[in-house]
Each structure stands twice: as structure tokens, then as C-alpha cells.
Symmetry: C2
């Protein structure tokens, strides 16, 4: 929105790329290479000479002096003065007061997270193949995903695909189809924001794929060996080496920093409550948008963030022409969707619900459309053709012994075994 | 060669993939994603049910008990008894007695190495953009590659491509074309094994691409800030944040282990001298092949390793039928080739020399042919189309602030700077 306008824009980020998070689970399960969903920021804004990019971490925002302070890779503090500031720092996982769970049940918000998860999932199958103890092997082959929103459903679906369709012929001692795959959700149903028909459809497809779906179930403990959960029927312990956290999110710490500087409130997830025009109270020159803000009860998904970004860009452009009569931000709900396994999906759009191949084609169309650049779009279609539609391979499943040791090996037993 | 034979084969490796090293430099410079040059071992041998794969590190070989001992990810010791053993553990970089240089001038033998190098090279441009001191900026934009064999020539060529063709429009404060790119070689010419015409051609193309080629030059010191080198005309110090080591290799430590157990000799590079049939002295049941062995003065490149592998497979099959009248290994030289930058190459084959587009097309044909699987072949051609032939992008250039800090940031200055 600000490309070519008479403004100088500085874009500060801790990474050099723009990550398309909705496909992150496909990196974690070996379908896509990282590059296709994470084009370099510099390349995205290359043609817009009024935009420059800084690789740095924002550590302080001085609202009085109107200066952002960022740390450069060499430790230098870079002071970035501004007339107008837009903060869009997103969210990270939240463990509801149990931060010690993070070590055992990694979440998935960054490419680094996705790589860790891939090492973990693929490493578990390797360890199962080498295990000499039956109980150990069962724990290696047990996968628990916590949280049945779109991310949890998509991850658990791909783990089921790996176990049932991709990996069976790759192993000699284990039958990967024996893997136990559990989806745990505290709410009474999967996919909260979808209607009941889509929720039932999703549960049915997941169960047909071999996933145990446990709704109305609360996680009470997670450690390196497994997970404990409780529901109406009592408490259950599942011995599982791989636990994936897709349950809670919490806003970037910058939300709290801005809240305490302006007197704005934050909600339970640490999201800052902004004015109807996305500004901070008393600071019309500071906007906050996306997953780190709380506005009109909008969910922390891509569409509100994208629309808020466009809205704020337009407000800034209008101010340049002296027009400050701003209408409040209005969200236009285009719907929402999720894939289940290889070629199933559910979608809600324009008051209608879709399942099966129709929903899947909608999902493919929308997700390819939102990728940046034709090279990435065709590359992604090619990867989907290889991994999902034509063959059953996963082209991007690289792990090393050291990575597996880092992820799960060191947590495993150290008793020796002998193969013959 | 042993697929479907009446033998049980166990393949032990520290990684889960078969790495095609000749294209590793393209991962290090963002052209290819990792997966295309590193298919999973399990998938490569999937159809051959007599072959099983173990993810583990070989820590001991007991030639008397005929048992290999490997460490599993959970620290368990796996004992693998054998009738016949083939050791093909390759080589790693050697710093000619200066192991302390490894920290400052990383080599490139594994995917991990390639990732490090990519972080380093791309991070250097980011740091140059943020630098406030002119000398600091020049050091950020100085790249030195040590060793002008095929790997060194290919890496330095791609760094020149990045600086001159890919990145110039991505930056606002620096002109990446001002980068200083130096290739240092101790021998009197680049590409030792090629003939004089190809050497001259390579030097001319590299110089036209902006690379300073320094032959007959010895590296005397490497530290975090730069490199010191000496030749006929004296000693020179080059301040450079990025140094790449492509000079020396040394055999896997397993070569020395086998040598001391059998009384076999090793050469200067630690490679074990094997019998003419690739067996160890006094141990006809143990073969050693590839970059870790010294045989008939063959160079440590792909072709001898591939041919030795096929030869040993045939010897083992012949023995099954009782035929032990083995002819010694005979190498058939199919030639050798290297690319220079984007679309130049040199090739030597069948007593003839090729340059320019003909050599480049030969290079493309051979390298695509040797990739495993059509999915990877088409994927690689697609990536080359995107990055080399049609557009000037690099699709796979992901870095994060933390990675840059790990690679070079912490070595940089800690004096602050202010941008406005």
C-alpha cells in the first residue's frame, strides 16, 4: 500500500524472509522445501525504492522520542526514528503457564520450529526401527498433537499420512501403520470456528485415517516420555516420544511493552487492545495490527491481519493528502478452511460450507494464490504433485544423527541393544 | 549391485540421506533446496527388501569378531555382525595442521556445512547494509575462497553471481557489485587436473566476472577478520568476514582405524592404501572404497568412488557363485568438468576439451542424470530455470538474525551505530 508513495519505509525483521505460516506444517512433514513459502523480504520489496529492509531485533520503542531501537547482527544498537510506526510482530505459542512443556512439546510458528518438528517426527520412526524393547518402540511410534484448530488438524493429518501411506515400505523391522496418533482438544469439538457439519466430517475423516480424536480433554502434564490428559471418563497417560503443541498462542512481548507505555489494556493472550482505527490510545502515529492485537473479537488468523495491513496503509496515504477523517477498520470475513490429510478439506465461505474435493480445490486455489511470485506458486504445485497427488514420497525429509540426538535421542534410554 | 542378490545388506549412515556432493555449492548459494540433492536412503533402497538402513555412527570395527559397532540416536551401542564389510566413509576438510582455521573458514562437505556457508555469505551482505564504518563495510563485502579445484571455482563463481547479478537491486545503502571476491590457490594454476587451455579459459571467465584470481599463493594465517597469504611478490593481508575453505581433504578417521588394525599404510591425506581388488591386506572380506582410500593414484572425486562401488558389488556377487578369480579394479576415466558462474563451464572427456555453452550443456546433462529419481531431476531443472536461466532470483536464501549472529555477528565489532 505504501509502495511508490511519498514516504520512506523501513521494514525491520529478525529474519530475512516473509513466512507464509499456513503451509508451515508442510515443511514440518517434508512436503515442501522452506524457500517456496519464505521469499526474501528484500526481493518482495525490491522494485519499491522507498522501502528498505533491516535485519535486526526490535528491543525498545521510545514513543516520546519516536524512535525504534533494534539490535543488528554484530550487537550494534540501531536507532530508527519514525513519523509513523506500524507494529506487526505477531504471536508465539503459549503453554498456559506451563513453560516447561515447551521443551517436550514443540510448537510451530517459525521455519526453525518446523525444522525441529521434522527432525523429531522422522527421528522417532528411525528410533523405533532401532529399538529393541517393545515398550520403547511403542513410545517411539506414538504421536500426540495438542489442539484441534486448523494447525493441529493439518499436522495430525500429515503425521497419519506419513505413517500409513508414505513410510510403510521404507522400514524393515517396524510397521509404521501401527503408529498410535492422538489428537487432544480441550473444547467439545475439533475446528471450533467451523459449523457442526464440518466438525463431524473432519472427525470422521481423521478417524478413518487412524487418528484417535479426544475432544473435551485437558492436558495435565507433559514430560519427555509422554503426556497425561483428563476428561469426563478420568485421566489417561500416553507414553509418546513425539508431542506437538498447537493449542495456545500469546502475543509478541512488544504488545505488552506498548501497552504499558500507553496505558492500553491487553487481553488474556497478551494482545494489545487498539482503537477502532488500529492506533494506540493517545498515539495516532502508532498502529498495531495482526496477531498481536485484540480488535472487535477478531481471531488471530491471516485474513484480519492482511486486511488491517491494507487499512493502515490506506490511512497513512490519506493522511499524506491531509485527509484525517478515517472510518474505523471493518473486517470482511471471506471464510476459513483447513485440509485433512492428503486430499480432504473443509471450507466455510459466504455463509456456505464445503467438504471433500470441492473444499480441497478451494484450499489449493487460495493457498497457491497467496504465495508470493509465480516461481513459488509453480514450485509448490510441483511439490504437491510429487508428494501428494502422483507419488507417495516426501522429497524434503533430511535429518542427521546429530539432529535426532538433539531432538529426542538424548531423552531416550541409554541401555544398549544388539541387532543381528 | 547387491539388490535382489541372496545377501542381507545393512547400510549404516550418520544421516538419513544420500548426498549428491557435486551440487552442494548450489545449496550454499540459494539455488537449490536441500531435498533435491539428498533423497532419503530408505527411499533409494525401498524396493530392495534385502537391504535395511540403520541411522547410527560407526564407532568401532572389530575385524577379528567381524562386528561393526554403531551408536544409535539414544546412545545405545548396536552390534552389527558381518560376513563381508564395505567401508565407504568418505573424506572431510583438512586444514594442513591449522585446525584453528576451521572456525573462520568453513568447508563444504555436508548439508550442514552448506547451510552454514549460506548463512555466512548472505549474512555478510546484511551486515554490510547495516555497517556504519567504511572499513567494516568493506570487510563485510570481501569474500575469499581458498582452493581453485572444481569446488572452489564453482563456489567463487556463484558468490560473484550473487554480488553482480542477483543482489544489486535488493540493497539500498550498499552496491553489492563493489564486493571484493578473491580466489587463492597454492598451485600455479586453477583447476589442476584440466589442460592448459581450460585453465586459461576458466581464469579469463572468472576475472571477467570480477574475481581476483591468485595462483601460486599460500595462505599463512586466517582469523575472524581476514586472511594473510604469501606469493612471489610478498605477503598480503585481506580483511574479509567471509572465508571459504575448498583446499584440502582428509580421509574419514575410519581409514586410520582400519590401517592400524591391518597394518595397511595411509597416505598424507590419511587415505588407506588398499589391495588392487579394494580389500584390506590379510582381510579379503573387508573392502574399502571411495574418497577414504588410496588406489592407483586416483583422485578423490565421484567417478572412481562410483566405479569402485560397482566393482566391489560384482566381486561379492561372484564370490556367492564360488568364483574368486577376481581381476583387479580398473578405472575408466570418463572425464571431468566444472561450471564457472551461471552458464559457463569447462569439460574434459575422451581426450577432448570443451568450453562455453557446449561444456555447460554437458555439465547440465551429466549432473541431472546422476540425481536420483525423476522428481528430483525435474525439480532441479525447474530450480535452475528460475535461478539461473530465466530470472535472477535465488529462491532458497533463508536466514535468521540468530543464524547470522552465530556465523559472523558475534565476531563483528560491538561499537554502536545510528541510522537515520
Amino acid at each position: 500500500m505504501l509502495a511508490g508513495s511519498d514516504v520512506d519505509v523501513t521494514l525491520v525483521d529478525r529474519t530475512n524472509h516473509h513466512l507464509f505460516q499456513p503451509l508451515l506444517y508442510q515443511v514440518a512433514t517434508g512436503i515442501l522445501p522452506e524457500g517456496l513459502i519464505a521469499p526474501a523480504l528484500r526481493r518482495v520489496v525490491q522494485k519499491h525504492k522507498n522501502i528498505s529492509v533491516v535485519l535486526g531485533e526490535v528491543v525498545d520503542i521510545d514513543l516520546k522520542a519516536q524512535t525504534v531501537c533494534a539490535l543488528a547482527p554484530d550487537g550494534a544498537r540501531i536507532a530508527l526514528p519514525y513519523d509513523t510506526l506500524v507494529v506487526a510482530a505477531g504471536a508465539t505459542h503459549a503453554y498456559f503457564g506451563h513453560d516447561e512443556w515447551a521443551e517436550f512439546a514443540p510448537g510451530m510458528k517459525t521455519l526453525e520450529d518446523a525444522r525441529h518438528l521434522r527432525n523429531h517426527i522422522l527421528g522417532a520412526f528411525e528410533m523405533a526401527e532401532l529399538a529393541t524393547d517393545q515398550k520403547e518402540r511403542e513410545a517411539d511410534l506414538s504421536f500426540v498433537v495438542v489442539g484441534a484448530g486448523p494447525t493441529g488438524v493439518e499436522v495430525v493429518g500429515q503425521i497419519a499420512e506419513l505413517a500409513h501411506r508414505v513410510l510403510p515400505d521404507d522400514y524393515r523391522k517396524i510397521d509404521t501403520r501401527q503408529a498410535r496418533i492422538v489428537l487432544i482438544e480441550a473444547a467439545p469439538t475439533v475446528l471450533g470456528p467451523f459449523d457442526e457439519r464440518l466438525q463431524r466430517y473432519t472427525t470422521r475423516i481423521l478417524e478413518r485415517m487412524g487418528v484417535e480424536v479426544r475432544c473435551g480433554t485437558l492436558v495435565t502434564a507433559i514430560d519427555e516420555d509422554g503426556i497425561t490428559a483428563r476428561n469426563d471418563r478420568g485421566e489417561e497417560r500416553i507414553e509418546a516420544k513425539t508431542k506437538v503443541w498447537a493449542a495456545g498462542v500469546q502475543a509478541s512481548p512488544l504488545a505488552k511493552m506498548l501497552a504499558s507505555a500507553t496505558g492500553a489494556k491487553t487481553d488474556r493472550a497478551g494482545r494489545i487492545m487498539v482503537e477502532p482505527d488500529c492506533t494506540l490510545p493517545g498515539h495516532p502515529e502508532v498502529f498495531a495490527i495482526g496477531d498481536m492485537v485484540s480488535l472487535n473479537g477478531l481471531p488471530g488468523i491471516a485474513q484480519p491481519a492482511i486486511q488491517e495491513g491494507k487499512y493502515v496503509g490506506k490511512v497513512i496515504r490519506d493522511r499524506l493528502t491531509g485527509d484525517t477523517s478515517v472510518a474505523p477498520f471493518k473486517y470482511c470475513d471471506h471464510g476459513t478452511m483447513a485440509t485433512i490429510g492428503r486430499i480432504h478439506a473443509v471450507a466455510r465461505s459466504g455463509g456456505m460450507s464445503f467438504t471433500g474435493i470441492v473444499a480441497y480445490l478451494m484450499w489449493v486455489f487460495v493457498h497457491v494464490l497467496y504465495l508470493i511470485g509465480w516461481g513459488n506458486r509453480f514450485g509448490t504445485l510441483y511439490s504437491w504433485g510429487r508428494s501428494l497427488w502422483i507419488t507417495r514420497n516426501r522429497a524434503h525429509r533430511i535429518i542427521t544423527l546429530d539432529q535426532v540426538i538433539d531432538e529426542i535421542g538424548s531423552h531416550g534410554s541409554t541401555t544398549g541393544g544388539t541387532m543381528s
